[in-house]
Symmetry: C2
Subunit: 253 residues, 2 copies
């Protein structure tokens, strides 16, 4: 077991096991999946819309995002992924990519053949179920983003996104809930939120002026989690993470 858990693929286990329990054989089978390592520079494509990819990938370090481009050149960012995320599991099932997946920062990924993933999901129902679950949580987050963009004003949208990042980054061990490095530019934030970078800038300053956050470069410090969550109309239920035993407010330990 020790040998197996040293595989780089073991990075996928913590998140998958959040969804449902796996046994030792399940874990061993996941870790034994064939893979190929790759590094990508920021903005490089993992998959392009319309591609028929042969591999899904596990993100080992850095950040990646999904996006679509519209006719006039506008871009909508649909999801953000971080270490431990299985990016693009869905393309193993769907076949043809309906959106782009790109490196946001310098990243390292493990490319896993679709065919091996599907065989494993079929052979081990518990593993298949956990993978299904993982893609459904992605879907849930996407519905929340859809709601955010469709029915909330700029301040609420941004506060909501900052709350989500706070929780997801802390779950992934990449920052504290109330003090983290935001991995994206204001223009990229704008593309998540359906706003312009200029307006994101003004809105960030507004949150700061109201004493909800402080910022230095890309660092975000949440001054008052409860107020930020209230302003952002934020309820973490859509992340489908059981918060029992997790501190949801490290600002008051």
């Amino acid at each position: 077991m020790a040998g197996q858990s040293e595989s780089l693929l073991s990075a996928m286990l913590p998140k998958l096991e959040t969804w449902a329990p796996l046994d030792d054989d399940d874990r061993a089978a996941l870790i034994a999946l064939p893979y190929r390592l790759q590094s990508l520079a920021p903005t490089k494509y993992i998959v392009r819309e319309g591609d028929r990819a042969e591999h899904s990938c596990l993100l080992l370090s850095g950040f990646a995002f999904r996006s679509k481009i519209v006719r006039d050149g506008g871009r909508q960012i649909l999801a953000l992924h971080m270490r431990g995320d299985m990016v693009d599991l869905q393309n193993a099932v769907l076949g043809r990519a309906d959106h782009n997946v790109q490196a946001l920062t310098e990243i390292e990924i493990a490319l896993i053949p679709h065919e091996a993933i599907l065989r494993l999901a079929a052979d081990r129902p518990r593993v298949g179920r956990v993978m299904w679950h993982d893609t459904l949580v992605d879907g849930s987050i996407n519905r929340e983003w859809n709601t955010n963009v469709g029915r909330r004003d700029a301040t609420t949208r941004l506060a909501h996104l900052l709350c989500e990042f706070a929780l997801r980054l802390s779950f992934a061990g990449l920052g504290e809930q109330c003090n983290y490095e935001l991995p994206m530019t204001q223009e990229q934030l704008a593309d998540c939120l359906g706003l312009t970078s200029v307006h994101v800038n003004r809105t960030l300053k507004g949150l700061e002026a109201n004493g909800l956050i402080t910022r230095t470069a890309r660092n975000v410090r949440v001054v008052d989690w409860d107020r930020l969550a209230a302003v952002g109309d934020f309820n973490s239920a859509y992340l489908h993470v059981d918060l029992e035993g997790r501190s949801i407010d490290p600002s008051r330990p």
Copy 2:
């Protein structure tokens, strides 16, 4: 087989088999799922956000929609479902509903216990895979809606939605691509699009004035599919339906 295919549950087969082939035993097992019939009046809830539902449901007639409500009372409609759709398959896996599912019109549904669905998915990998696929296509549509709301102007958004409805309704045998009954009010359309009903009204009239569609009550007639699709920045790839053998433009047979 004849006996089995008379089950009301056979309504789910055409769509599921669009995703991947099933064999006779798979079909028989799906149709043999236990279920309970129910009728619901418009606006009645199938599942409420936060519920821990015990059943998923197959929509036998009428229309249903998913939605979320934000703090100020605004509503975002996240998806529209029609006859033959497995509504809420995801809650079998996720457990707790992260959004509402409601009857849009008078509907009939078959309630199927989650536990039976999950057992079938585990026992028959091909069935599990097709169900997974089905939920992933829902996710793809949701990403397109997210993009629509986030990065397209009102006219483009509405034209895009009308194109999607045209195709989905015709796939489901509920109308012709260029002549169908729109099952929703302008206020509900607005909630799909992140607009107000007033602006949807003006935008509809704009499409009509430009000779793209004509309307009478809830009936929509597409006058010029190619132009409507161009105005709507519409590309059907995200529906993940193979259009081979299907006419994508019945206006020129």
